[in-house]
Symmetry: C2
């Protein structure tokens, strides 16, 4: 293996779980006026303070999907009506399979039909798919309009809504076409998680668990202890998990916005995971499910490379299982698996790059001998 | 009218025409490592110095069109073969009517089919359409890969290839979907202009003439004297005109990359021009032709607002006519004309913003009374 050199890092602020904070704020610090806050707490939407700092405009467009809109669109529209002359709603079809050009174009059609201009603000109300596609629409419409992330899934609150990665899928690979484009604000209302189906909650737990092995073993210890509370949607446990996840993501993104190096560690479990997602066809497994299984595979690879011991792999596999996530890969066939991994955006000249655990709490990007990778795929695939 | 306040500007460097410089360099100065050079001169492609500073990659993709590729693609491929393991060519259909999602997607399909990665370099070989669409593809593919502008039309060399505006058209408006995304280099080989059809040359002259009234009357005086040389493709006159145009554009873009204010003056003639283009259907008139006529209309509006005298309007109309450009608008009907202008990206809340000449050599963005605008459209429309 040939680890890539990494620049000197700022230390990660220590983990200080506070089970009694009402509203939390985490900041993404970036240059050129692109810094923004993430608000985390209960009942944020109906609090006028939440929306006070937003840019002024005549028109706001809420983009949501067929599952989330019936539950929450009216509530958000009411909250925003005090701030905009017109608040419109566009409801997209639900699911990763619709994260395409076609759906993206329907946003542009709606915006132009509604007389949107460069000041129009977009609100992404939904999970990762809605956030990614709405963010990309905001990045491209008239070469960039402001947008706000209002994530309604655990996965979106702890990962996809933060950091400015936006994209649509291409039949040959996930998130192949997109932009780095930061929201002006992220609003993580914890109340909406109470209606989240168990499968979606588990998918979010995958991205939360991820932050432990790559950056913060104290947080992983806390997760071991509090996983049941999280599965039971304990509001205070959720607040701690969402905040710490956002803190770690902010720490990474503030140092490497456009993935020149460090940011790639956030893709732990994603190289295997993306291959599962595109190999099965987008939408078959949830993204978080594929990442859960992908993390097990990446832990196995880390062990095969001699970086972590078997006990660590076992601990991670146990936690991922307990979170309700798959730990066995679907049988795509070795060829297909490798082919899909070679389209990963981290690949350079066809050579796949993996995020592995260098030691518990620290990740690194590296190549790996093909024989080891094959062995991991074979070991982890369901018979 | 209500002119918008403008920040204190850096002075424009004085116009110093040098009819004997072999190779000229103009720099676009931007933050965060996004500065880049524009090379202007004869025989640049076959000069290895031209390509020496480009980023390393295994694969380069030249994107061109059915008109330019047969003339120049092989020449450029040969020049690049020393720098990349593989140099591929993708030929797009020609014309503004193809500056669409569909064509853009064909670039992504080709890139993924060819095993492109984040280091792959795109080369836009052609005019404004090829440059805009290739630049937008580079902005979005894997969230951004490097690209080089190799403009082959006069219009692209003096305007569209410089400054990082990339886009595709939407049926409801020109350049509605795009990105600010800078090339790593612009290579303006003057030799390729010798095969340019007269109509395309005139279209380029429109954007060159534009720089006079908005920023540099000394340059407009020079154009009055040297227009015939330019029409006759005198290499040294072309070198002066391309360099000065790039200097003025660099002066603007370096101070306002994302069109927060100043940059809008580059749209002189474009509000009326875009309405003509989308009103007739993209591709009916060349962009430069629509801008030529649009500048006459914007001069008439400036006069109607009491900003410039009739002699100035007359002088501009004469020069635009002499450049072989239309000065009478097609009869779209007043309603259609206004409707298309209201979709202009400068419009805010449906109110159209115009770039007018405040005094010769200085432009300003402002609203205008609808009655005056209607009168200008009526006055300037062919019976």
């Amino acid at each position: 293996m040939t680890p890539q050199p990494q620049p000197q890092l700022q230390p990660l602020p220590p983990f200080k779980p506070d089970l009694h904070a009402p509203i939390e704020r985490v900041d993404i610090a970036l240059s050129e006026g692109r810094s923004y806050p993430i608000w985390i707490g209960p009942e944020l939407w109906s609090n006028p303070d939440t929306w006070r700092a937003l840019p002024k405009a005549r028109l706001a467009l809420i983009v949501s999907n067929t599952v989330v809109a019936p539950l929450y669109a009216q509530h958000l529209m009411n909250a925003l009506k005090a701030h905009y002359e017109r608040v419109e709603l566009l409801v997209l079809p639900d699911g990763e399979g619709h994260k395409t050009w076609l759906t993206l174009n329907s946003i542009f059609d709606h915006l132009l039909g509604a007389g949107a201009d460069r000041k129009t603000v977009l609100f992404a109300l939904g999970g990762g798919v809605v956030g990614d596609i709405t963010g990309f629409a905001a990045a491209c419409f008239m070469r960039g309009v402001p947008f706000v992330q209002v994530p309604t899934t655990l996965l979106a609150q702890v990962d996809s809504s933060v950091g400015g990665k936006t994209a649509v899928n291409h039949p040959l690979g996930k998130n192949m076409v997109g932009a780095f484009y930061q929201p002006v604000q992220v609003v993580c209302d914890l109340g909406v998680l109470q209606t989240l189906p168990a499968r979606e909650l588990s998918a979010g737990l995958a991205e939360i668990i991820k932050y432990g092995p790559i950056a913060d073993m104290a947080f992983l210890d806390w997760l071991d202890t509090h996983l049941t509370s999280l599965i039971n949607k304990d509001p205070q446990a959720l607040a701690v998990a969402v905040k710490r996840s956002c803190e770690i993501k902010a720490w990474v993104v503030s140092q490497d916005e456009k993935e020149g190096g460090l940011r790639a560690i956030l893709n732990f479990g994603h190289t295997f995971g993306h291959a599962i997602e595109s190999g099965l066809g987008f939408g078959e497994w949830l993204h978080g499910e594929a990442v859960g299984c992908g993390m097990v595979m990446a832990c196995e690879l880390s062990h095969a490379l001699g970086l972590v011991d078997r006990a660590f792999v076992h601990r991670m596999t146990e936690l991922i299982t307990k979170a309700g996530l798959p730990t066995r890969a679907p049988d795509l066939g070795l060829e297909t698996f490798l082919e899909h991994m070679s389209h990963d955006k981290k690949a350079v000249g066809g050579e796949i790059q993996f995020v592995v655990i260098k030691r518990p709490g620290e990740a690194v990007v590296c190549k790996a001998p093909q024989a080891l990778v094959q062995k991991v795929i074979e070991t982890c695939t369901s018979p």
